[in-house]
């Protein structure tokens, strides 16, 4: 059963002469409970796909269905209860003047939860931060701790599909290991579906079941992780990427 189905997705920025086609005819599907990776170099359009799914990139055409229901131009509130996103740079994705408590509390409030206090406590425990971080401001947190807060925020509405936009590329390797472990645990516990964007093949190889390789806005190849590990890429570009990352 398919959680997310993307068919012939085009995304562009600007209009007329300045129009840039960031994604061209992307087609892939992510199964329920699957972890799917999008790999490519900067400018290949992999992050743009995530932004199109969430509506942050408004100019798109093609068909996208979530859990069997088509995604329209306007996302209803329920959409964000199913789909959430974790951003690349934890230093930019938290409001500099809002404490952890405010960030999570506001999110829960927006999704109409009533028992906000108990839920904030639970969320912080779930992402391994604990209560002593509850009233801190972002500048009092390390990069890894910030990313945990961002993950807690994404988990707050209890989504089924989590979009991960290079969640560890701004972090140190030892912190990356902690965050990747956390993401793996959360997926196990909650049966989440992941769509993960990364430029790092080894990270995607570790986290994902299947992946799509992107180049210049197009998906050049979709392969599973076994094929990746066996270096069984068919497209020349994916081969190059594989060699470069070993």
């Amino acid at each position: 059963m398919s959680m997310l189905d993307v068919n012939g997705l085009n995304v562009w920025f600007g209009k007329n002469r300045d129009r840039v086609d960031a994604v061209k005819g992307a087609t892939f599907d992510v199964g329920q409970g699957e972890s799917f990776g999008l790999v490519g170099e900067s400018g290949s359009g992999k992050s743009t796909i995530l932004r199109a799914i969430t509506g942050l990139a408004p100019n798109w055409s093609g068909a996208m269905t979530l859990d069997g229901k088509p995604i329209g131009k306007k996302r209803p509130k329920e959409f964000f209860k199913t789909v959430q996103m974790v951003f690349q740079d934890p230093y930019a994705s938290l409001h500099p003047r809002h404490s952890v408590d405010q960030v999570l509390g506001e999110t829960l409030h927006l999704h109409g939860f009533k028992d906000i206090d108990t839920r904030v406590v639970k969320l912080l425990d779930d992402v391994g931060l604990g209560q002593k971080f509850r009233f801190r401001y972002p500048h009092q947190l390390s990069g890894g701790q910030r990313q945990r807060v961002a993950i807690a925020r994404a988990l707050a509405p209890e989504p089924e599909l989590l979009l991960l936009d290079e969640p560890t590329s701004a972090l140190d390797v030892s912190v990356q290991a902690e965050i990747l472990n956390l993401l793996a645990d959360l997926r196990n516990d909650r049966g989440l579906t992941y769509l993960m964007v990364s430029h790092d093949l080894s990270v995607v190889g570790h986290m994902c079941d299947r992946l799509a390789v992107m180049k210049d806005g197009e998906i050049v190849e979709i392969l599973d992780v076994a094929a990746l590990r066996a270096m069984n890429a068919t497209h020349t570009y994916s081969k190059q990427l594989l060699e470069a990352s070993l």
């Binding site: 900067s42 140190d172 793996a184 570790h206």
Partner: protein, 286 residues
């Protein structure tokens, strides 16, 4: 025995803060010959500070202290700021992480290179132009004449970084300090930039200090590696033996990397031992 280009003894970088003095680098000693020396560590380990401190580029209120930083016998710590400016660029050059911040956005690349060249050499405009073309070709830029007329924003990241390297090499320095020169670049471009640096270091017999957070990259590219942790050197080893490193910190870093050829369910998480930051700094002298 290699000739020693740079000898750093007991280097400290301190920042006074509201809650007392923060030591970013704590008593680091190492030497650099005509080799590629890697400095690896996580953010906050003091690796970038070490690189900047050699050039005395720490902004006040930061303080640099050292028994000596000698460049072929001349102690840089004793130089006046004016003499230091002659050392920077002329004898030791630095390449930063992001070329976008190091190039002047409103000057063409050609003008910037020519200006840099004429600052260091008395040459006519035409000579400087030809020399600049040569420089760009030396860093494998095809179509150098077109690049000379372009502005920095028209360049890709890899291109910009090559231009930066070309500019840094104009005065023919003895030492090149590269601070994460490739981490803003895509993997395929990364390789090319490294190859260029490698070639230049070998051909010109320069010393290279390569600062990076990427263990695999350093293991591949350098001759010798210093591993830094909280302002100290915890381990020194030959780059090709990095994967056999002994220190638990280095081991922990290596094990926390996901690997395509060795899949695991869970990544190993680094358990930090407070003793690591207490142990005295290992000397990186040859």
């Amino acid at each position: 025995m290699m000739s020693t280009l740079l000898d750093v003894q007991n280097l400290w970088v301190r920042f006074p803060t509201r809650n007392g003095v923060f030591d970013a680098v704590r008593g680091v000693s190492f030497t650099l010959g005509r080799e590629r020396l890697g400095i690896v560590g996580e953010s906050g380990s003091g690796k970038s500070m070490t690189g900047r401190a050699i050039l005395r580029l720490i902004r006040p209120p930061g303080i640099v202290e050292a028994d000596q930083i000698s460049l072929e016998g001349q102690d840089l710590m004793k130089l006046s700021e004016k003499d230091m400016r002659a050392v920077r660029g002329q004898r030791i050059s630095m390449v930063m992480q992001d070329p976008k911040f190091s190039l002047n956005p409103v000057m063409t690349i050609g003008d910037q290179i020519i200006e840099a060249y004429r600052l260091h050499n008395s040459a006519s405009k035409a000579d400087a132009y030809n020399k600049s073309l040569e420089m760009l070709e030396a860093v494998s830029i095809r179509d150098a004449e077109r690049v000379m007329r372009a502005y920095p924003h028209e360049m890709s990241g890899g291109m910009g970084q090559r231009i930066m390297i070309a500019m840094m090499l104009i005065p023919n320095p003895e030492i090149l300090i590269a601070d994460e020169p490739t981490s803003a670049l895509d993997v395929s471009v990364q390789r090319q930039v490294l190859d260029i640096m490698d070639k230049l270091v070998k051909e010109r017999g320069m010393g290279l200090i390569f600062i990076s957070h990427d263990l695999n990259l350093v293991a591949d590219f350098c001759d010798r590696v210093l591993i830094m942790y909280s302002g100290r050197i915890v381990e020194v080893c030959d780059a090709d033996k990095l994967h056999e490193a002994k220190h638990p910190y280095t081991r922990g870093l290596l094990n926390s990397l996901p690997r395509l050829d060795a899949p695991r369910d869970r990544l190993e998480v680094l358990e930090r031992d407070p003793e690591w930051s207490e142990a005295p700094s290992v000397s990186g002298s040859e």
